[in-house]
Subunit: 437 residues, 2 copies
């Protein structure tokens, strides 16, 4: 889920639980974009329709059940790479809600199809199944006042229940769309999941998708239309190792790592001082067994991010060049023994890109915000929308309503502060995009 | 204890148990040194004396008791910084053996004084009390054939029993010396003990010592007359840490560490290509919590060694310069936030130096080897002798006889292959040095 950077969030990022966290909103100044009048009109007209009005009311009536769904799903653990149990449960809920057909794909994404009348287009509404929390985490929901506390309750279990409620609302009120709607519970959004679920949807033999609405995060004002891409590597230099005095003269993997960091950061510093914001971080390092031994390995984990695919590829190349240079120079320095080798493993690859604010999907989301009397906030983040965006498919990520906090920490909370507005918002954007019959 | 570098020893050095290991013989080519005829004569004459002959015989008769002492002391754990229990036991044994006075100093070194007739000089005969093995290690002695197996049995518990047997032999046979003899069980020889025990003996208010014979290692041919010094540091760069994208632009401790490694190794490589063998190793590194977070710290452990105090100080200076340069440059590179800081902590300081082979103590040890019909091997190592050597006091480290192996591993063994020759050797060197009445 995306969240706005606050000091407390920064502190939380230093806790071990945060390993694998991927996304973040960094509001970068962009020129405000006008909402085309026709989308405002479109949304106003949609909202007036009796079936839509009924659905709006239904979301409010459904609140006790939606709360129960949220508790039920939150208490079904869904650790990274182990979303199957929750996936099956969510599939059952989708079936019970009335989807025409529900299935799990080969990575355990839940797909629930609701057929449209025209069937020329497919619009996806998706939330992600996985949490950042490892197996064994206590996911029991606790309520204090009106606030619900549990790991994963907001991110993105609330999103799952919002998507489910939209399906229920459409079924209840008999709303028909022109396009097919594919309701999706996606695996692998978080951290090392590396957008595994959404990437699977966009495989060459995947379903045809024309428009993509990811539901992640709280509130009703934010519209993530830019995908913050990232490349992540774990780079390991390996040598024979040996006694620091007796084996002196052999290659030292830490020597190569030091050189690689030095060459990379010198070049990356210059590279990132102009153009689209592009970042790099040598984040975790390790290797070595004893102060009196030349280590047999030295490794680092590196994170690079940019909204621009070109910049991301550019800084990636600087890293690869630095690593090879360091390898060669450390090997030239050796006085005895075998050469160092290096293993460069990509552990993260999230594509960059943007859905232009003039694209109808973004315009519609903005018009919905305006209709709901909130200021639309266009933002950048790393979410499941990154993948369709990079594939040239209109895509946004929007919140599911209510208020939340402490995402990715054990103290995560979500408060149902007019949460039904989240479902109303998703429904309006979806109907505008899919075309209401 | 010193040991000759073998491939198995190198492999063993990579095991966690080896953390803190410090010493090592690296036979560096030195011109063979002649033994002055007068020392050969001196040793021959000493060995002929009836009391010495009786002592020689006594060591053989004492074997069953010496074996019992070895088992008893080996099974009294003596982990780093926790040698007190063994120290008290060893003190009791020294008292029972007939020392004039026995006491523990403020770091729990055992000191057992045997007064000489002239009392103008003091000769130390010492073995170290500590082992490398942590608390809870199973130190039960197992015998297979004639070989005894137990952690620490050779290094240096055998040395303790050899020193004890020499005292017993002198008491039994009424041998009198001109100089006082101080029998010592020293703490803190191994690893992070950093020669703590022997350093305490040479404190300004410590006993006056004129000659120092450390008993460590097996066999009867090796004579360590050169002290391999070492400096060890743990260096930690610290910054605020933050999200890899959101906080981008703050200082990155890993960036500083990479620079420090780069600058240090570039200079150290040149510095160590000539002159007395001097080595450096960036051995262990760490820091960072998550691939998506700029770390708040980055640290390395560095080991530097040389026989030459000048070279050791020289390479140390290169490290300090590199660290400060890296700190400054990383701070200059930052775009926001506070500066990095660095903590430079010295975790090891073993002095360098050599007792010239022409010094009587070394000459005598060589003459004893020749008398015992073995080829004396002059060698370099890091042992308790480093400290007196660095203080300008004649000092050597010699083995205690028998055969041993797998020092610092759980499979350590010692075999009593004419182990009494070890006591004969120590006695002859001691009597030559202390002057027999």
């Amino acid at each position: 889920m995306p969240f706005v950077m606050k000091p407390t969030a920064v502190a939380a990022l230093l806790t071990p639980l945060l390993i694998g966290t991927a996304h973040l909103v960094q509001a970068q100044a962009e020129k405000p974009v006008a909402i085309d009048k026709r989308y405002e009109t479109e949304i106003q007209n949609l909202a007036k329709r009796p079936a839509v009005q009924s659905a709006f009311k239904f979301f409010m009536d459904l609140e006790p059940q939606t709360k129960q769904d949220l508790i039920n799903l939150t208490e079904t653990p869904s650790p990274p790479f182990k979303e199957q149990v929750r996936a099956r449960k969510y599939a059952d809920m989708m079936k019970a809600a009335g989807a025409d057909s529900v299935w799990l794909d080969d990575v355990s994404n839940v797909l629930a199809l609701r057929r449209g009348k025209g069937r020329q287009k497919t619009v996806v509404v998706e939330a992600h199944l996985d949490t950042v929390f490892p197996e064994g985490t206590n996911v029991k929901v606790k309520q204090k006042g009106d606030t619900l506390y549990a790991p994963g309750i907001g991110d993105d279990t609330r999103g799952l229940t919002a998507v489910l409620a939209v399906l229920k609302g459409m079924e209840k009120t008999g709303i028909e769309t022109d396009a097919d709607v594919l309701f999706v519970g996606a695996v692998g959004e978080e951290g090392l999941g590396d957008l595994r679920g959404v990437k699977n949807l966009f495989k060459p033999n995947g379903p045809k998708i024309d428009s993509y609405i990811a539901v992640d995060g709280d509130g009703i004002d934010e519209i993530t239309h830019r995908g913050l891409g990232s490349h992540r590597y774990r780079i390991t230099f390996k040598g024979p190792g040996g006694h620091s005095y007796g084996a002196f003269g052999i290659v030292n993997p830490h020597g190569a790592l030091g050189k690689a960091i030095y060459y990379f950061t010198q070049e990356a510093d210059k590279f990132t001082r102009e153009g689209v914001k592009t970042t790099y971080s040598v984040s975790v390092i390790g290797g070595g067994t004893s102060v009196n031994a030349i280590p047999y390995e030295s490794w680092m984990e590196v994170d690079m991010r940019s909204e621009s695919a070109d910049k991301l590829n550019g800084i990636d190349k600087l890293l690869q060049t630095a690593v090879q240079r360091a390898l060669n120079e450390e090997n030239q320095m050796k006085r005895s023994g075998p050469d160092l080798t290096v293993d460069v493993k990509q552990v993260g690859d999230r594509p960059s890109g943007r859905t232009e604010p003039t694209v109808p999907l973004v315009q519609r989301a903005m018009a919905v915000a305006k209709f709901m009397q909130v200021e639309p906030k266009l933002s950048v983040s790393s979410t499941d929308a990154n993948t369709p965006i990079a594939n040239g498919i209109p895509a946004i990520t929007i919140g599911s309503g209510g208020k939340g906090g402490n995402e990715h920490s054990l103290n995560e909370w979500w408060l149902n502060d007019k949460g039904y507005l989240g479902m109303q918002r998703v429904l309006l954007v979806l109907l505008a995009e899919a075309g209401m019959k």
